[in-house]
Structure formats: C-alpha cells, structure tokens
C-alpha cells in the first residue's frame, strides 16, 4: 500500500516537472502473489510493480499513460519488444517501445531513478554535456547498456 501522503507529493512534483507526454509499458506475468515458485514461474513482484506504475500514472493522468502487457498472453509483443523477464517497466515519450527500462521492482534507491527517468523523458532533457552528446552521436549500431543495481 502506498500512503496518500506519498501520492500527493508525487502529484505536486509532477505538476511542475512534467511538460510532455510519457508512455509507460508494464510487462508482467499473472499468477504471482508472494508465493515462492520455481525459477521462471510466476512473478512475485509483478503486483507491486503494477501498483508502482499506476502510482506514476495517477500522479499525472493527463500526461502519463500506462499500458499493461501480459507476456504469457502476448508472447509476440514480448518478442518484438525484446522483453524476457518481468516485471519490466519501459518508459517512452509516445507509444514507441521504451528504451529506458527497469527490470524488477524499482524500489529503494532505484525509485528516485525511475522518477528521474519519467521527468527527463517528459521534458526530453538528457542533461548531458555537449561533449557527451557529440560522442554518443557516433553510435550507429544498437547498443544495450545493462546496469545491475540493488534497492539498498
């Protein structure tokens, strides 16, 4: 359960910080709860991830849209979007496949990174130096950057 106070704080923050649309795609599997299941079955954190994604949408419903994809029912979509593990939250400025992704529940220290990503996508504001932008412009092939992190 997310306290009302937190919801209000996020609404106040997004009211100022969001300028353009943000599209979230939440990829999940059903049949989870918190049961311990064999690896690859169920999804113990999908329900919490759904609650978190809905928190973001509800904080600014006029700017943030949320689409939910059950990868067990729509495996073609999962394959197209290259999503193998759940929960995954993808962030984009429109209905394109989001290239900013959070795999697993982005709680603890990862939650501020999730908020930051939503705000930056909304403002189309990478916040990188001109030197970094010029360097990144030299990338001509798809590049995957995986960052392993922990909530604490």
């Amino acid at each position: 359960m997310i306290p009302e106070e937190v919801r209000q704080q996020l609404k106040d923050r997004f009211e100022v910080a969001l300028t353009g649309p943000v599209h979230l795609t939440l990829y999940t599997k059903p049949g989870s709860s918190r049961l311990i299941l064999p690896a690859g079955m169920g999804c113990p954190t999908c329900e919490d991830a759904r609650e978190m994604a809905e928190l973001l949408r509800d904080a600014a419903p006029e700017k943030v849209t949320l689409e939910q994809v059950d990868i067990t029912r729509d495996d073609e979509r999962a394959m197209t979007d290259d999503v193998n593990d759940v929960p995954t939250i993808a962030i984009a400025s429109n209905s394109e496949t989001g290239r900013i992704r959070f795999q697993g529940l982005p709680s603890g220290t990862e939650f501020p990174a999730l908020i930051d990503a939503v705000e930056r996508v909304s403002r189309a504001e990478p916040g990188l130096s001109d030197q970094s932008l010029a360097a990144l412009a030299r990338l001509t092939e798809p590049t995957e950057v995986m960052v392993f992190a922990t909530p604490t």
Partner: protein, 84 residues
C-alpha cells in the same frame, strides 16, 4: 543508473536496462555481478562501480566498439571482458 537512462534519451541507438540484481540471480551470475552498480555493455564488456559522466560515456562507446579518440582518464572501476 540515471546516467545510462539519460544516454538512452540522448541516443536512439541505446537501450538502458536497470536490473534489480537480487531479483534476477541467474542473470547476475551470468554476468558475474559481485557488486553494484555493475554495467554490462552489449553483453560483452563490463564496468564495475560508478563513473563520472565522461568516463561512463567513453566506456559505453568502447564497449560498443566505437573508437574513443579523445583522451580520457582511466575509469575508476575496472573494465573487463565478460564475453564467452
């Protein structure tokens, strides 16, 4: 993590995936994650630890096989090959 996200926002070539290491132990083991943040580029090269923006950008370009001709200081974390 924020830096990788910002790079994905700046370049249409980049996909940034923040992975909760404890939740995906098989993936963490596959890429030999022993500490965080642990960054893996194109499932080949790895950078351990947080880097300043300039070094992180250089590490990603290097991991993607793009020549980095501008001099930059050595990353504070080791860059290792995780392929094979």
């Amino acid at each position: 993590m924020s830096l990788a996200n910002r790079m994905a926002l700046a370049s249409p070539q980049i996909k940034a995936v923040c992975i909760e290491a404890n939740e995906f132990p098989r993936l963490s083991n596959q890429f030999r994650v022993r500490g965080v943040p642990h960054t893996v580029i194109n499932r080949r090269a790895a950078v351990v630890g947080a880097l300043p923006e300039r070094d992180f950008v250089a590490a990603v370009l290097e991991g993607a096989g793009v020549a980095v001709d501008e001099p930059h200081e050595a990353p504070s974390g080791p860059t290792t090959d995780v392929s094979g």
